[in-house]
Amino acid sequence: MANCNRISDLFSEYVENDLSRDDAAKVQAHLAACPSCKERVDQLTALRQRLTGMHQIKTTDDFDLVLRARIQMSKKIGRPTLLPQFFYNRPPLFSYAMATAAVLLLVFAGSMMLSPQGDTSRNSANPSPYTFSKSQLTFPFDRVRPAAGGLKRPASSDTAKDFTQPAKTSVVELAGADSTAEQDARRQRARRAMKKYVIPVSF
């Protein structure tokens, strides 16, 4: 009924006893004649009671502590500290994935730092650690030559002996002491061999 719809605009205030006398009388007259609206108003009353009586939750015990920490933190960084919402409502496996990724990253970073390839001279030549010249990204073939043993695998019989001699076990060492034809040939061989493994970098 169109009349029901119009009068229902007043129901809420009627339930709260917030209507003028005239309007309240209008609603009462309608309710007396319309059982469905009467039921509706009764339900609205019940709904209001239910909503008012809904259980109240309490803040967790560490609320004040965390708040204090956040205030301290915001003093330091000078801005609010609301966590990005990315951290909430994530799928259950997400945190495990993130943890695994973090551990892998740490292991990777650690191994990079511990590896003996860290070349400090590079930094002095190039003040920014993020810019490299092309020559620094390609293998410096002209500066290295194979060690005395070359790239050939030592014969199985003297493997043990070879490993006890550090000079022979290193694959490359800085050139410059002497450059005979034999060493040039060796360098060529080494270059060919290394090409298999070194991916050329170009920009």
């Binding site: 229902s8 605009d9 129901f11 809420s12 205030e13 339930v15 509706r40 339900q43 609205l44 019940a46 709904l47 209001r48 239910r50 909503l51 008012t52 009586g53 809904m54 259980h55 109240q56 939750i57 309490k58 803040t59 967790t60 609320f63 004040d64 965390v66 708040l67 956040r70 205030i71 915001s74 609010p80 500290t81 609301l82 966590l83 919402q85 990315f86 909430y88 409502n89 994530r90 799928p91």
Partner: protein
């Protein structure tokens, strides 16, 4: 200075407390937190339906009160000021959530579906479990649009006056009243079996 206006034994008003805090009394801030934390938590929690997020937002609200304490002027009620901050943060959160909808499994949409199926065979004669009913009501509140949701929470759960709600939401009282009415009718329609 601090506490000057206080009569011995009288409970300081919110406005007194924030004034004391503005004058450097940190204990007054603690009292404000104590007074409002649960109230605001319930407001934001009903709005977002996520306690962890709600707590985060309430903390952020207090943090903003702390940082912007001098922005408060006594002409306004302190309660409406702090509710406005919390409400704005909660609404921002809701918008962010909408954008993230694709990634979130526990989003409202899924829960709605879940409820709609079970509501058909809901038996009002069954053992009355208030908490369960609260949950059902909460879900229905969350199905309302944010505009309706905030007025129904502020009016019926938090028992704020229409004037206060109008100030918090910065809309005319008439608008608040009509929103409350429509929100109630919608909830009544959907919760018929429970009422």
């Amino acid at each position: 200075m601090a506490g000057e206006k206080e009569i011995e034994g009288a409970i300081p008003t919110d406005e007194d407390l924030i004034e004391r805090f503005q004058n450097g009394d940190l204990y007054a801030f603690d009292l404000i937190v104590k007074r409002y934390k649960d109230q605001l938590l319930n407001f934001v929690y009903r709005f977002l339906n996520n306690q962890e997020q709600a707590e985060d937002i309430v903390q952020e609200t207090f943090l903003r009160v702390y940082r912007n304490r001098h922005a408060y002027r006594r002409v306004a009620k302190f309660s409406t000021w702090i509710y406005t901050i919390a409400g704005n943060l909660a609404r921002t959160e809701l918008r962010k959530r909408k954008r993230r909808r694709l990634f979130s499994l526990s989003d409202i949409g899924i829960e709605n579906k879940d409820y709609e199926i079970s509501s058909d065979d809901f038996n009002p004669e069954a053992h009355v479990d208030t908490l369960l009913h609260d949950k059902v009501i909460q879900r229905e509140i969350n199905r309302l649009s944010p505009k309706f949701r905030e007025v129904i929470i502020l009016r019926d759960i938090q028992n704020l006056s229409y004037e206060e709600i109008a100030t918090i939401l910065r809309v005319p009282i008439g608008t608040v009243k009509s929103r409350v009415n429509r929100a109630r009718l919608r909830l009544q329609e959907r919760l018929k079996k429970l009422l």
